[in-house]
């Protein structure tokens, strides 16, 4: 992997037997997005601030604050994803594949990544995840 932050990113990938146009709609049309991801007031415009809402749980109201940073139709979509004081970035990448579309979701910012510096700096999260890794390693 060329991305040095990859070890601290969460990646989920799958090839869907559907054209990129259809995946793009599912990713960017708010009512469709609500059907598979979460209730939202998303709009595919750079700088758009929106929220996803999960069911509230103990110690968390379930609100995820987001801001759109990349909109490249049929190719790439990215937004910040801030929950419980931790700001991460969720990036969707679409690539045509044999008989369909390869969809990649990368959520980064769980470590000292370039994109984790906004709220992360206030909470000191970057170094936290390093420390957590070391602490867990020390337990073995």
């Amino acid at each position: 992997m060329s991305n040095p932050d990859a070890s601290r990113a969460l990646v989920v990938e799958r090839v869907f037997p559907h054209p990129p146009q259809k995946l793009w709609r599912a990713l960017t049309e708010s009512p469709l997005l609500a059907q598979w991801l979460l209730h939202n007031d998303f709009e595919p415009a750079i700088g758009r601030k929106f929220q996803f809402r999960r069911e509230p749980m103990p110690h968390w109201n379930g609100i995820i604050d987001c801001e759109v940073s990349v909109v490249e139709p049929l190719k790439e979509l990215a937004y910040s994803w801030t929950a419980l004081g931790l700001e991460t970035v969720v990036r969707w990448t679409l690539t045509p594949a044999d008989g369909g579309t390869h969809l990649r979701m990368e959520q980064s910012g769980f470590g000292p990544g370039r994109e984790a510096n906004y709220n992360g700096a206030n909470y000191g999260w970057q170094s936290f995840f390093n420390a957590l890794e070391r602490t867990l390693a020390d337990l073995d």
Binding site: L10, V12, R14, F16, H18, K22, L23, R25, A26, L32, Q35, W36, L37, H59, L84, G85, L103, M105, Q107, F110, Y123, G124, W125, S127, F128, A131, L132, R134, T135, L136, D138, L139
Partner: protein, 108 residues
Amino acid sequence: MATSNPNYVFRALADPTRRAIFQQLSRHGEQTVHGLTRHAGVSQPAVSKHLTVLKRAKLVRHRRDGRETHYRAQPEALAPMVDWLNLYGAFWRERFDRLEDLLGRMDP
């Protein structure tokens, strides 16, 4: 052991000095406030305050031995944090399944 409150755990570890204290105890075992102060780079009262926050989060336990109090790490209290990270992985995989269902139902 009673479960640690995630808010206390997150808050306790959001501070770099407290993380350093926790790390120190995890790596080198039980220590007194004096011992910890040597490594912490802050005053002894400050270390004591940090220990109180760590104790509230159940990340640290203490025991008395005569006039000295010994502190040690309770890494099990990290559980809510680890759960939270794992939750994210499971969350996205489950959402991909739902996306697959939705794409099947959508017009071509």
